[in-house]
Symmetry: C2
Subunit: 315 residues, 2 copies
């Protein structure tokens, strides 16, 4: 398989979005290193705009549209961070955003999306209802649909996290991300492949939605039939564009259960003093569970996001 995204495209994406994103800090902790038995570097995309790396992909997708496309706006369906990312990206570019959200989405997320001036359409909380509503908007407005992950422009944008990470910490030996739809993982794997091919790329995945783990075993996508995990950002099945890249470039998917995720999340809050959502703690949970594989190594972990309801903490 030829890779669908070139190094030049990744670099162009980074230049394109740089003026609009935070170059997020890399944090370390000696007590975390002692617990993990290796040198851990956290790239904090929870401190990114909208509280998640999704700002990168959303911005890259919107900024890559033609003038004609921009005029008609963008549409997506999402209950989570991608909704905020698209709303923020559209606002940044001064174009319309139409966001389909399930009527069950938490108030805090509805408000955040509305705060960016996006037009929200509520629908029943099913995949069919979401797609139908988005299709209706596309037909009525001519807006461009942007997938949360199964889109090369989105993958390029997410890959810029790893570019910064490797620039600022050039001696990393391992990179770890969570995997849901696979945008962040595919982008990270591409960036590492081009810039530091010796880095081994892993992902953490929750046991309650372990489609990517199973897909890697089988060699083809095995969709989640049911999902049951606290990591609410990782419920979707890996996209086909993402899986093609992951299959080629990712070393291994490491599966963790919800208790391991909550324990890792709490440890990050307590020791690193940062707010991390359950999905964002999944790779660190994986590192702790499989730490024998990483003893003494320099492990870079991308903390994907920090959007969590403070009134409903799991500890």
């Amino acid at each position: 398989m030829e890779l669908p995204i070139s190094l030049a495209e990744l670099r162009e994406a980074h230049e394109r979005i740089k003026p609009f994103i935070h170059r997020t800090p890399i944090l370390t902790s000696e007590s975390i290193n002692a617990i993990a038995g290796c040198e851990v570097y956290f790239k904090c995309e929870n401190l990114q705009k909208i509280g998640a790396f999704k700002a990168r992909g959303g911005l890259n997708a919107v900024l890559s549209l033609s003038e004609a496309q921009r005029a008609k706006g963008v549409v997506t369906h999402s209950s989570g961070n991608h909704a905020q990312a698209m709303a923020m990206a559209a606002k940044t570019c001064g174009i319309p955003a139409y966001i389909v959200m399930p009527n069950t989405a938490p108030d805090v997320k509805k408000k955040a999306v509305a705060g960016y001036g996006a037009e929200i359409t509520f629908c029943e909380p099913t995949q069919a209802a979401r797609e139908a509503a988005a299709n209706q908007i596309m037909e009525a407005t001519g807006a461009t649909y942007v997938s949360p992950y199964n889109d090369n422009k989105v993958i390029e944008g997410q890959g810029t996290t790893a570019i910064e990470f490797m620039e600022d910490q050039p001696d990393l030996e391992v990179l770890m991300t969570p995997v849901g739809g696979g945008g962040l993982l595919a982008g990270t794997a591409l960036a590492a492949h081009y810039l530091k091919p010796k880095i081994r790329v892993f992902a953490g995945e929750p046991k309650g939605a372990m489609d990517t783990f199973l897909s890697m075993q089988k060699g083809e996508i095995v969709p989640n039939k049911t999902t049951n995990t606290i990591a609410d950002g990782l419920l979707v099945t890996v996209g086909d564009k993402n899986f093609a890249i992951i299959q080629k470039l990712v070393k291994e998917i490491l599966v963790v259960n919800d208790q391991e995720i909550v324990d890792a999340m709490r440890l990050i809050w307590e020791r690193m003093k940062i707010v991390v959502e359950p999905s964002g703690a999944v790779p660190f949970a994986s590192l702790l569970k499989y730490k024998a594989q990483f003893t003494g190594q320099k492990v870079g972990i991308i903390i994907s996001g920090g959007n969590v309801d403070l009134g409903k903490l799991p500890f």
Copy 2:
């Protein structure tokens, strides 16, 4: 009054502790700016080692000891961040630390201090019992007592936060810290005075322990008779060494109540995705309360710490 600490001493302190501390990141948020009506820059000492700026003062005090003093170790009494700072600093230098802690201190703090290998002596939770225990240890061991704030070496160390802040964000017009004993505030005011004399320095203080506010009004130290605030790091009365500097160089003390502190704390957690203790949210609470004074300005806020019991959050 001649200033008791020179610019050269501040710079030497910074060089002395630099290898052992984090250069903490400065974070910003457009939504926070919109709420505050000005440009807010947060210098995140909650992301410092031990989760608080106190690491700086503790390290500077310990690293400034003579060889003979080092051999006998250091002693202090504290239930909070200073205890951890001294334990960490002593461990860094490989010398003994004797920490007197009230037997009512939370387990998590006892464990953190013990984790650095310090020898803990428990006592009744009164000032008299704490001082008596510390004096006994000094007599028995010859260890050097290091005050949490009323000490020039500690003040120098705390002042290094503002040095980094002004280096990394040279256009600040205002600097704000919390004030308890006054180490961070005095150090910040000195650094600003020497490096950017046009910067106006303010402090936030909780209404339930507003001794520095009253002391500034009266022109002499007015001790707290009682203390009643959620900002548990700011209960002590300002030290005389600190007050002499504060009186000369600090513009104004801005008083906030506990509800304002909790609201500001929650806003920081939600928008900045960082864990801040109540004391650390006090200057931001002050900014929000008195924002009319700061409209459109570049305001630097030092977030002092993030050591909070996740099981006992006020929201």
